[in-house]
């Protein structure tokens, strides 16, 4: 029936609040990223359907060059690795190293965005030229928005990991881990996007 007593276990959890809660903040973030991933899945599904059933009209231009996106793919993959390095350094309680790696990651993100803009300005088609042009800009733009937000968050946490007075330490790693997971997610989406938009 109803047992009113198991105060031991409850109290154990209460005294350990920070660790207990950290756990499901990450869980909440993962759930959110699944939802975010579904938005991209919707875009990809739309693009693939267009590709299957809507032929490009005569005279419409939709051609993509590979060099810049390939460079961008490498940039993002490297930035995932540098972010990982930052996390490792924080585990060893070396905040200044963490900060350096984070700034490197943020710079890689900014370079990615600059390359993306460079590509936009040099493409032979605009947003409203044809269906595929619109879908291309919508997909890469939505991803670029994610990279922009990610870069801003990396800059914020790199300030927060400053060796003196920063709130992120090896005891409070959640903000760094959360942004890291988000960043890996954005990279993963880019790889799928690269394959679907540029290679297929």
């Amino acid at each position: 029936m109803t047992t009113l007593d198991s105060s031991k276990e409850i109290n154990k959890n209460d005294s350990d609040v920070s660790e207990h809660h950290e756990d499901f903040r990450m869980f909440g973030l993962i759930t959110f990223l699944i939802a975010d991933g579904m938005t991209f899945a919707g875009f990809f599904a739309a693009y693939l359907t267009y590709k299957a059933v809507n032929p490009l009209p005569d005279g419409a231009i939709y051609e993509l060059e590979l060099p810049i996106p390939t460079l961008n793919t490498i940039l993002l993959l490297v930035s995932s690795a540098t972010f990982h390095k930052a996390g490792k350094a924080l585990l060893k309680n070396k905040n200044s190293d963490t900060q350096k790696w984070l700034i490197v990651t943020a710079l890689l993100g900014i370079t990615f965005l600059i390359c993306q803009l460079f590509e936009y300005f040099n493409l032979p088609f605009g947003l409203t030229d044809n269906l595929f042009a619109s879908t291309f800009y919508a997909l890469t733009g939505f991803h670029g928005l994610h990279v922009t937000l990610g870069t801003l968050m990396i800059l914020i946490i790199s300030w927060q990991t400053r060796p003196k007075g920063g709130r992120i330490t090896y005891q409070n790693m959640f903000p760094l881990e959360a942004v890291e997971l988000y960043w890996h997610f954005v990279d993963g989406i880019w790889v799928i996007l690269f394959i679907i938009l540029y290679l297929l």
Binding site: S6, I10, R25, G28, P57, L131, S134
Partner: protein, 546 residues
Amino acid sequence: MTISIDSKDSNDKSLQPKGWLRYFSFSLDHKVIGIQYLVCGFLFYLIGGTLASAIRIELASPISDFMPRDVYNQVLTLHGTIMIFLWIVPVVNGAFGNYLIPFYVGARDMAFPRLNAVAFWLIPPSGLMLVASYFVEGAAQAGWTAYPPLSITTPQSGQIIWIMSVLLLGGSSIFGGINFIATIIKLRRPGLKLMQLPMYCWAMLGTSLLVVLSTPVLAGTLILLSFDIVAHTGFFNPVLGGNVVVYQHLFWFYSHPAVYIMVLPAFGLVSEILPVHSRKPLFGYTTMVFSIMGIVVLGLVVWAHHMFTSGTPPWMRLFFTIATAFIAVPTGIKFFNWVATLWGGKISINSAILFSCGFIVNFVFGGITGVALAQVPFDIHVHDTYFVVAHFHYIVYGGTVFIIFSSIYHWFPKVTGKLMSEKLGILHFAITFIGFNLCFAPQHWLGLNGMPRRVAEYDPQFQFVNQISSVGALLMAISTIPFLVNIFLSIKEGKDSGSNPWNALTPEWLTSSPPPVENWEGDPPLVEEPYGYGKPIFQEDLSKKP
């Protein structure tokens, strides 16, 4: 993103306003947020109901005399959007979910109290924005589905406000869903197993999975649609080479699960109410759980049955017909279980169980027409007629709204510590049930005879039946009066209910009414058998019942 939940929060809570004022504060208490959802949703229900009455007044005569045609289109668009996104989804998920889930999992609050408050406070502004869009160049006119090219060609400012509003409401819904999943999976009291949870937890877990998986797709679709309207891209505009059917696929990928987002929580709530008032354990707990999860999985792969007339290829029609027919199996299991729960029970006739039984009757009827609509030849015959309107309202009004009222009667003593008047409650039920069936049953006939929906004018031969339907709508409007009178009278001078007036076993009844801020004075109780009615310890209670 910093959601730190530490001891500071509990201090914040004790500083928050007490009494009714707390319902106007940015409270983090899940019970306050639940009531905020409920009252806010009910206010929008009154607005949506007024719009519905306007529709029925217009349709009492075959010509458009009560309002111009474009205003009629705005009214039906706002009616659908408000009822779905501002009344049913927030109330049946947000209100009851927030109020009950922490009790059921043995927690003191939701997993993310601040996210919870954010999710609620997104609703009033976006709702007001939607209602206010009437005053620009007219509200959206493309129906709650906003199908292009209609939504691209009708006046644009109203449509854009509609999109913004639905995006915000979708965000609120996703935040709520994340919170429910985290609360149910991660915040369970130690020792409480998943298969010991009250059924509403399972229903909310399934619903939240659907919310998290499908709502973002709607968000993406509406972003593309807003590009079509604002930036003149051609995603869904055939003139510019776009494809309208892609919109329909993406839209229904959300909006079919949305039907389950509206109805699964109601399934959970009715599973809480029936055992209490019939003094019997819930029949077939395990099959209930698997049915819910079956509905979640199948609910994600049936969306194209809304599009049988959109040039869907034969293989797609075949697949989606079969998948849709399959959904009837888990749903049927649930109805069998509820009837078996009532069977041979000591049923006390009160407002809560009357509304629940009304739900069973109405929903079975709506379910049967649903299976009929899944058959391609029949669907092509009645597509976009009043038959669909009747079917849909049997599901969402006869189903979910009946359960919302049932739940209000059931949990009112918990929230306020007062009993509601049963006489007024039964009067409310009688008028609602008669009015509802009078309003929507004739619409099946109208649809079968070819009266199209969403048009202000119709063939004069349908006038008499439409007037019967309008009388039913009038009764439904009147039925709100005994309900509101009952609520206000009971809050003011209702009899004291004590902490557990129904002798219920689910955890929320094991604390005082209204519950203290952190839900329990001591530790949360471990309820291993939330439906253990008829066990020896409760024989005494049973013998007291008539």
